[in-house]
Assembly symmetry: C2
Homo-oligomer: 430 residues x 2
């Protein structure tokens, strides 16, 4: 079924001016314009199918990721798709281990985001050619084939190819939680209104941004707890704002609002710091969650080894696509840590739903303490947007990785020449 | 003395085709073209002084770093140099914590390399205006001012601004070791010849690249040990080639050649892995060295906390310039770990000599187990190349950070339009 030579690689700088409404604002990212480096792969096969890949960015710097995608393009161009998926580990390593290019990573930052975008497009194309949604492609795949997609370099001390997983279960919607009610830049009135509406729509799990000002946090958390009541689940997210001792101190003051977890309390690189915070907050019943800015499987390995997190948050666009996320799902299973993906952004919900549904069916086989982030933004730009029912992700049925955007949306939001930005930049010029 | 508004920021993609001679080759980087993103800052001051900044790259991808420098340029342009150095921590954080741009790092990979290049140029300019070599600017600086250059965010759990260091000592050349004799791609004959010549020139400390093939390593290490004798110092460097158990096993087989350290045995992100390797190799008398691809102070902090390295290798162009390197020097002092900088590359020797001389005079006050890497390559392109006497770095006397390249060299090696590359690319096209 897999066929065709990659005949064209194009990449677009697509930006949505979300900072205008303070959507997405938190203690460290005060004015994000949700954006994406958006890759399109075309082949010479007669099926005319295209692969769409994304990595999520916050506006500025998207052009740097676009530049990196262009630097990687020659690894993909003129390759036969059969050769790529036939030795996906080899292909993965080609992208991440180029003798010259790896210096400016390695496997982190801009080049790793670009790698994710390119590989996400390959996975989308593969799934489309197999006429399956990505999660189904993964679930149906021979375990040996699945493992052959993973680069085990640097993680064989905790996981080797010999350990395979084959559980299978039926599946209903995957539980979601909402981050849309309590961005840091929202007023109390707006927060109250959004929480009330979300409760009415059936949401039972809520996340609030904290970390900029303690008194504000106490007021906002009290407000939300009062609205949602003591039984519903509340998570908090500091977006890396604190140093280690500060995180412990600050969260001790917010413990009365019974958060399930504190997310990103400090630098995403500080494994031992997260372990210290985890240990200090355990007696308060607060877990530590992190992962959206963990740059590769090696960091996740250590977070698990050091008992540094109680909730693991994979990201579909920062790690090296499905390949690297698979290795993290397997390690999380081995350490008994629930995976609760990071989502929102641009397309992150669309993509990660495939991974978490696969995780449930074929890896974790459990919903205990598990849920996937949901943010109600920008889905209208996607051809196959996520479907949420009863605060749950319903498994997508369309073939592919759900990455494809509407052509009109891409055209309008292309930076800096799309209609939206042309108008916006002209207005700024005045 | 500090004066002027930054009136121009330019950046060049400069590449030297070093892969043609296998110079710089190792187990992971088989064909490096030593390159640099080279930043030039101009001001409106009448002194006409320019700041030159560099970050080191391996060829491909330099254009991505250039793109990132351009994205950062607006933070520097039109700024008064007095305002920058008057609140250097604030300026540093502006570059590293832009709400949108930090997503594609944060503080790692391409954007951090670009940050280093820009800040290196600022430090060079500052030192030139003060008519001092950078190390002297640092040594003479009021400790309070010095600490105000450091961003302590994420490291206050091991080091705070309150702890200051003020020792001062006279200084003679700083001991160096050579990596130029034993690149992985060199033949045994060449290795033999280069080692013999280096011994004659007074070198007493040698580094050999290992990790691609065990039998080759055994043969090459035996050859070198035979030439240099049992008393001279030998270091080994695997350039991240191994997984954790593999590193221990492999080095057990090379222990008979009495290496002082094994450098980069595994992923630069694997703090706990380095700790495991350190523990396993200690009984064999082999230390672990790493740092050239450690992307920020948070990773160094943990390497020290976890006792994961016995030799700490700062890099002048990967960390966020002098500012971030200062924080690492101070942490190393606190943990009693010797700093033995990574050098070589393009300009890395020229830059890092300032930092290590400062370290000796004002921080560590010791030469025990301390030495700075030296590679005899590409110095001829710099206006003020390093001076090596008796296998020691002699302190530079010219004002600035020694970053400035000869105009002719930049012009010839600019990629892809410089004379060298034009010819080379045309030949490839044929």
């Amino acid at each position: 079924m897999v066929q065709g030579r990659i005949s064209r690689v194009s990449v677009h700088d697509v930006r949505f001016p979300t900072s205008l409404g303070a959507h997405g604002s938190d203690a460290m990212h005060t004015d994000p314009d949700y954006s994406a480096a958006y890759v399109i792969l075309e082949t010479d096969a007669e099926d005319g199918l295209k692969g769409h890949g994304i990595t999520f960015t916050l506006g500025k710097g998207t052009e740097i990721v676009v530049c990196a995608v262009n630097a990687l393009a020659h690894h993909v161009l003129n390759k036969d798709l059969r050769d790529i998926v036939g030795d996906f580990r080899g292909f993965y390593r080609q992208l991440t281990s180029d003798g010259q290019l790896r210096w400016i990573g390695p496997e982190k930052g801009v080049v790793h985001l670009a790698t994710a975008a390119v590989l996400n497009a390959v996975w989308d194309l593969w799934a489309k050619q197999e006429r399956k949604p990505l999660w189904k492609l993964l679930v149906d795949m021979d375990p040996r084939m699945l493992l052959s997609c993973i680069d085990f370099r640097y993680i064989t001390d905790v996981l080797t190819e010999e350990e395979a997983y084959e559980e299978q279960m039926l599946m209903h919607g995957y539980p979601a939680y909402t981050t849309s009610c309590a961005w840091l830049g929202y007023s109390d009135d707006m927060l109250q209104q959004l929480c009330t509406e979300a409760l009415k729509s059936g949401w039972t799990r809520f996340k609030v941004k904290v970390g900029a000002d303690l008194q504000d946090d106490i007021r906002r958390c009290r407000l939300i707890r009062d609205i949602i009541g003591p039984e519903k689940t509340l998570m908090m997210d500091a977006n890396q704002r604190w140093d280690v001792p500060e995180a412990v101190e600050w969260m001790s003051k917010l413990a009365e609002f019974k958060p399930l977890w504190i997310e990103e309390p400090t630098s995403p690189d500080d494994i031992l710091g997260h372990a210290t915070i985890s240990k200090a907050l355990a007696p308060l019943g607060i877990g530590v969650a992190t992962g959206e800015q963990c740059h590769n499987r090696v960091i996740f390995k250590q977070l698990l080894q050091a008992k540094a997190l109680q909730f693991l948050q994979i990201d579909s666009c920062r790690l090296g696509s499905v390949n690297e996320n698979l290795s993290v799902l397997l390690m999380a299973k081995k350490f008994g840590v629930p995976v609760c993906p990071h989502a929102g952004g641009v397309g992150l919900c669309e993509l990660v739903q495939h991974l978490i549904i696969f995780d449930f069916i074929s890896v974790s086989a459990s919903l205990t303490n598990r849920m996937c982030e949901y943010v109600d933004h920008l889905h209208e730009h996607f051809k196959y947007p996520v479907i949420i029912k009863n605060a749950s992700y319903m498994p997508p049925k369309e073939a592919g990785y759900s990455t494809e955007m509407k052509e009109e949306s891409v055209k309008k939001h292309q930076y800096p020449d799309g209609e939206v930005w042309k108008k916006f930049l002209a207005a700024q010029g005045n």
